[in-house]
């Protein structure tokens, strides 16, 4: 069916635009710039910042373009004297409530507020700041909300409530006393997903940054500082430097990390293959054990793990005991790699570059220590990584490609899709398929690589997969906000993947801003493209992984490096 169009005029030029669009959408589709701060395609229109105002002929007041639907014959002015005056003043008023912390702000190189101030030549110090004494709320080691930077747009609250359905953040007080704060409800707690940060236009909600500690350590001659980067980072980091959405940058990422001073750079794809092996084995064991807790549920998303520990401790026995890829690799680096390199594990500093804020929390879980050491010492987000590069004038787009340290390879195609919702499930299925046939117990065997039924951006993806003659009922939860219907029907499934962030890690709370449905889709497509052209596409075909696993077994390190346990959590403050 053809789309119904309406004719409108914007700044004297005629356009034919889809019916039902807002003026803002119509303008942007036609490459007409309109500023916005509180507008985000992921969220309901709130129209509270009043920065996207336009003049509509025949209307007394100015209209917010985000909340005004186009009508046939509408004549719109986006930059008339009236618009200029009101829009610029609103930007100025917003700037006055935002205490600038630009020198150390990770958003400084792509800050919407600064861009608008430059574009419209707005004086940013006209009013004395009124939020100087606002509190900073810190959520574990992961996320924080700095009230002094908040511009009251409420995107964080909507991301937390309407998208993630956690309802941890609230608007408290009214008027100028209004503040974003954690709920007093002790039955609600932050899961550290960082969607608040991802949707904040001014870095008031942001990761608790670690780039400064990392910077210091990189100068410390007594330390061996190594980096490991997550599957999804390779398809998102380029966006920070103007590369197209979905551009793969594995080689450039390695070069960039080396340029920052990391002696060794490892690809978490390698350990994602380890995770798949551990998880697939466990799945098959559980399937054969009639007493085993079913369904089995993935545990590589630390925000989901926190959710389960707080909201559904009864489900903890269902979570796979497998550690996550970053913890696997950290553990392997401080055991296997340390041994091979003949270095003291205590001297090694492992820095993860992650799409995620909750990974910062995961890294500080004491139960994950191996021989008394944290597998991962610091986690920086994709945004922090980009900030460090920009700060050091490293032009990412121009970098040559290089390869990660050869001792571990770049992982299989199954590893790279960990970055997408459904990817962990698909990787495990590829391997479980093969492992089930390994001991010839299966009635019939077949090789299968692509599991399209668990891919895509649907909220819940369900499938029944034939695995060695058994019917495996699987579900993929794409975004914690959609989890309730799966939790209500647990008995319907044997294996469930949960990713707290919509789209999976490519939509993680530490990813570049903006992240929207359109951008998530591009990033996901990029991951599946990489997978498709990989020589090795299954974790169990990764020989180096098998070698490492064998070594760990021989050293009796399998359990401490590969497995973990969970505990019920309550809110303490």
């Amino acid at each position: 069916m053809a789309e119904i169009k309406v004719k409108i005029t914007i700044d004297g030029k005629k356009y034919s635009v889809p019916k039902g669009q807002s003026i803002l959408e119509a303008a942007r589709d036609n490459n007409i710039f309109l500023p916005s701060l509180c507008y985000h395609p992921d969220l309901d229109v709130k129209a509270n910042c009043r920065v996207c105002v336009v003049e509509i002929k025949g209307q007394k007041k100015l209209a917010t373009s985000c909340s005004t639907i186009v009508k046939e014959g509408m004549e719109i002015l986006t930059d008339s004297p009236r618009v200029k005056q009101a829009r610029n003043l609103n930007i100025e008023l917003i700037f006055a409530e935002h205490i600038e912390k630009c020198p150390t702000c990770t958003l400084r190189y792509n800050c919407t507020l600064l861009d608008l101030a430059r574009r419209y030549k707005i004086k940013i110090s006209d009013f004395p700041d009124r939020k100087g004494k606002r509190k900073t709320y810190k959520f574990a080691q992961a996320v924080e909300i700095d009230g002094s930077q908040c511009i009251d747009c409420r995107n964080c609250v909507d991301a937390c409530s309407n998208m993630q359905r956690i309802d941890y953040l609230e608007v408290k007080g009214k008027g100028i006393r209004q503040e974003i704060a954690p709920t007093a409800d002790k039955d609600t707690d932050c899961i550290y997903c960082g969607q608040c940060a991802l949707h904040c236009p001014v870095a008031s909600a942001q990761e608790q940054d670690n780039w400064s500690q990392v910077e210091k350590l990189l100068k410390d001659k007594n330390k061996i500082v190594v980096a490991q980067f997550a599957p999804s980072v390779r398809v998102t980091i380029g966006e920070e430097f103007g590369l197209p959405y979905g551009q793969e940058s594995t080689g450039r990422t390695v070069t960039a990390l080396k340029k920052l001073g990391f002696k060794h750079v490892f690809d978490v794809n390698f350990s994602a293959d380890i995770t798949t092996m551990v998880e697939a084995e466990e799945l098959l064991e559980r399937l054969q054990d009639k007493k085993a807790k079913m369904p089995m549920i993935t545990s590589c998303c630390p925000a989901w793990v926190k959710y389960a520990e707080f909201y559904h401790p009864e489900l903890l026995p269902n979570l796979t005991t497998s550690r996550s890829p970053q913890i696997h690799l950290g553990g392997v680096i401080k055991t296997y790699w340390a041994k091979k390199m003949k270095v003291d594990p205590k001297k090694i500093v492992v820095v993860s570059v992650m799409p995620c804020t909750a990974k910062k929390f995961e890294a500080r879980r004491a139960e994950l220590k191996v021989n008394g050491l944290y597998p991962v010492d610091y986690v920086i987000t994709t945004r922090e990584f980009a900030f460090m590069l920009k700060k050091n004038n490293i032009n990412f787009g121009q970098l040559p490609e290089s390869q990660s340290d050869k001792i571990f390879n770049e992982g299989s195609g199954a590893a790279v899709i960990y970055g997408s919702s459904g990817g962990v499930m698909e990787s495990a299925l590829r391997t479980a398929y093969a492992l089930a046939c390994r001991d010839d117990k299966a009635k019939f065997c077949q090789s299968r690589i692509d599991f399209h039924e668990v891919r895509g951006l649907g909220d819940i993806k369900e499938a029944v997969i034939d695995i060695a003659g058994k019917k495996l009922r699987v579900a993929v939860v794409n975004g914690i906000g959609s989890i309730s219907q799966v939790l209500a029907n647990l008995k319907k499934y044997d294996y469930i993947e949960v990713m707290a962030c919509p789209g999976g890690c490519i939509g993680g709370g530490g990813q570049p801003i903006p992240t929207t449905a359109k951008i998530r889709k591009e990033r996901i497509m990029a991951l599946y493209r990489i997978d498709k052209f990989k020589e090795i596409r299954k974790a169990h075909d990764n020989k180096e992984v098998l070698e490492v696993l064998a070594w760990l077994k021989q050293q009796k390190l399998s359990h401490p490096v590969l497995h973990t346990k969970y505990k019920k959590r309550i809110r303490t403050k």
């Binding site: 509270n48 910042c49 009043r50 008023l93 006055a96 009013f127 009214k174 100028i176």
Partner: protein
């Protein structure tokens, strides 16, 4: 003749302040296709200087409830809420309940006492819906309008106390287009008076025995958001919620008045939109300065008028501009 036709013929308009044709609201809710519909009686009365809803509840609770009953029956509403100012609830609850029982409306009727922190904005109709739903008390984005998408997303009729009182009169053929005037300030006989709606402000003041014998000016339609008029401008009917507050021209203090308005608006701003939250705050700070930046002061007022989210923000310039223009002749604007 059904009630809607009667309302149409009477040309009844809302008495909450916006003067929106009552029939249009009723028709929209009637036509909306939904299993659940709601009626909300707005008795929040938060505008300073307006006391007529309290007066009506004191004297004509039965009429108000009768108007609500007519709405409930005509619309087939599921439930009817009286969103009421806590002061009125304390005093008038018994007589309202008596009227509810007499109208056989108990099963569908519920009180909802306006929370104390709700303030001025707690009388805005979509803010009332938020209050009823337990959400933050502040206006909603419109459209959708409450008549289509109101309480719990269902079609909802929100009418002011006086409007429903008039509906009852219309139904019985007793409506003579009168309205309730609250008269305050430098007058001898403060109070609420019922007079024809088309009377001029001057006539209302004279007939109530309140016309001053000294130079004065008035604020009409609320002590905060109302228009300020000089003595020569009183040949028009009272607008808004029809309050008339008289100021003694010689005794009044410009700076005090200006600060009163601006402090009120800053305190009552819900905080949702930039111009109102930040603008009212900045206006107050500007006035505190020794050298007042009138250019910026005016720019912020224009901004409020042009880009506010709701009528509260947009009404901030109303008293100030009309005071400057009508009383100070736009001259000597200094403190």
């Amino acid at each position: 003749m059904d009630i809607l036709t009667k309302i149409k013929q009477a040309n009844l308009v809302g008495r909450g302040g916006a003067s929106f044709p009552t029939a249009l609201k009723w028709e929209a809710v009637k036509q909306a296709d939904s299993l659940a519909k709601y009626v909300v009686i707005n008795a929040a009365e938060g505008e300073p200087g307006v006391k007529k809803d309290g007066y009506i509840l004191e004297h004509y609770a039965d009429r108000v409830v009768d108007g609500a009953r007519l709405a409930v029956e005509y619309l087939g509403a599921t439930r009817c809420y009286l969103f009421i100012n806590p002061k009125y609830y304390e005093v008038y609850r018994p007589r309202i309940m008596k009227a509810v029982k007499a109208a056989k409306l108990e099963k569908k009727f519920g009180f909802f006492v306006k929370p104390h922190q709700a303030g001025y904005i707690g009388g805005e109709e979509t803010a009332i819906l938020n209050a009823l739903e337990g959400k933050k008390i502040e206006p909603r984005l419109k459209p959708p309008f409450p008549t289509i998408n109101g309480l719990w997303d269902e079609p909802t009729l929100i009418n002011n106390v006086e409007t429903l009182y008039n509906v009852s009169l219309v139904d019985k053929g007793e409506f003579h287009n009168e309205r309730f005037y609250t008269i305050n300030g430098a007058v001898k006989k403060k109070g609420v008076y019922a007079f024809p709606a088309d009377w001029t402000i001057e006539k209302v003041l004279r007939q109530s025995g309140n016309y001053p014998n000294f130079p004065f000016f008035v604020q009409v339609g609320g002590d905060a958001s109302g228009d300020v008029l000089n003595q020569k401008q009183l040949k028009v009917p009272a607008s808004g919620a029809a309050s008339i507050t008289v100021y003694d021209f010689k005794k009044h203090d410009s700076a005090k008045l200006l600060r009163y308005w601006l402090k009120f608006f800053q305190a009552e701003s819900c905080g949702q939109c930039t111009p109102c939250r930040e603008g009212t705050y900045r206006l107050n700070r500007i006035l505190e300065k020794k050298k007042v930046d009138w250019k910026m002061f005016q720019a912020i007022l224009t901004d409020l008028s042009e880009t506010s989210f709701c009528a509260l923000g947009a009404s901030v310039p109303v008293p100030i501009w009309s005071y400057f223009k009508n009383i100070l002749n736009n001259k000597n604007v200094s403190l």
